[in-house]
Symmetry: C2
Subunit: 231 residues, 2 copies
DNA sequence: CCGCAAGTTTGCTGAAGGACAAAGAGGTCC
DNA sequence: GGACCTCTTTGTCCTTCAGCAAACTTGCGG
């Protein structure tokens, strides 16, 4: 396999302060890998042997309950670190990571985490900032689940995906990876039936346009109203 | 004010690896403060000027929604750090901290955070472990809110408090700080009415014994059944 | 010792949304 | 091109629990 191009990492937050030579060093230790849609990158409870950086595609981080239900904990977009158990001193992965679409990621053995954080300026800081943001997002979801009705939560979930991964198309803004009704229900703590009903209603109102596994938000501002201080 | 005794910190996880001299240094820079029940230690959105260590008492970390509802994000027990915004690169507090009972805490200016993490072995590691645990707890709560019925969530919340702060009394295990029905509803995303009904029912079944702001769990094992794989 | 505030209990009602059921609509694999 | 599997839609029923209302209890402050 030929050498990875340095431009892959240049400009990504965790590495933005580094020189060419340092980036070269980091890349030479990285293992690149491609994942098909639905492929598992790592599994909840397994030994955390590597930490990862998503270059292209989208990742869903998922927890499974004893009852077999799945909860989507997090979505990862290109440029983000994930599976960073070592940052929190964990030796097993707390959740399972699955490619939401065809994806490309780099990974490094966890023993390099300590090296990276001490050797490269900004790496530790940026990583912990990311963690802080994720903590904040989780707090927001707890608050939503505890206080808001299903319709508001689903609207908020759509908006979150649009914000994180929206790409402009002529009809509006499209969520850039495949999403099923069931996926949305696993983000919002409801059933796929209820999500389907909501999307049908919103389609009728001209707020979204959706086909199988594929959603375009045509009137984001109206979703904001639905998600927040009611409309 | 006389010097703080070194035994205050000896043995607490963040400082367990340090020598006397180092502990002395840390203590000399600490500001001790007592808080009445209900007193605010810091407020959501304010500049994070200090980070804190709880020595005695219990702290509730609370978020308020636009609608004015409160959500209890976290309980802090003696020996734990809190308000550690600097660890996550935040410059404002993400939530409000309130003394659940009369409490005593030390605090340091945030500029010392960097110094502590580099200078004292184990401090950074222990702090990030704590953070990892909190992240895990939050994930658990999200899962609960998304998949479990009210009764299970309330049972789980009681068990969590018992685990974190239970002290043995003759009738069973008592939650060591004042808790109202409203507080419990703010942890579980329900109403105080529903919580009151559940506690009444459990009282009748001999699972708990509660008086105003005060709860003793007399049959923890039965609560476990209620909280988990249904009873 | 009285009045008031905060916390608690209980009843009733209605709506939200979960559970169950069944059928249609794309895609994909052979 | 057919069989099958996954995803989606829609209908009906029924439980759970939030909302509203009102009374009761306990403890504190004046």
């Amino acid at each position: 396999m030929s050498k990875l191009d340095e431009s892959l990492l240049t400009g990504l937050p965790p590495f933005s302060l580094l020189e060419r030579g340092q980036i070269r060093e980091i890349l030479d230790q990285a293992l690149p890998k491609r994942y098909d849609e639905g492929a598992e990158i790592f599994h909840e409870g397994h030994d955390a042997e590597r930490f990862h950086l998503l270059l292209d595609g989208y990742i869903r981080v998922v927890k499974t309950t004893e009852g077999g239900e799945q909860i989507i904990a997090l979505h990862i977009s290109p440029g983000q670190l994930f599976g960073i158990a070592p940052a929190l001193n964990r030796d097993t992965y707390p959740a399972t990571a699955i490619a939401a679409s065809e994806s490309l990621a780099l990974s490094w053995p966890v023993r390099l985490w300590g090296e990276f954080t001490t050797k490269y300026p900004g790496f530790a800081t940026e990583s912990y900032s990311t963690l802080g943001q994720r903590l904040g997002e989780m707090q927001t979801r707890i608050t939503e689940l505890a206080t808001q009705a299903v319709e508001q939560r689903v609207a908020a979930a759509l908006l979150r995906m649009v914000t994180q991964s929206g790409r402009k198309v002529e009809e509006g803004i499209e969520i850039a990876f495949p999403v099923t009704r069931r996926n949305i229900s696993e983000m919002t703590g409801t059933t796929l039936h209820t999500v389907s009903r909501l999307l049908s209603a919103w389609e009728k109102d001209g707020i979204v346009h959706s086909t199988r596994k594929h959603i375009v938000v045509t009137a984001p501002h109206r979703l904001v109203l639905l998600s927040g201080a009611q409309g």
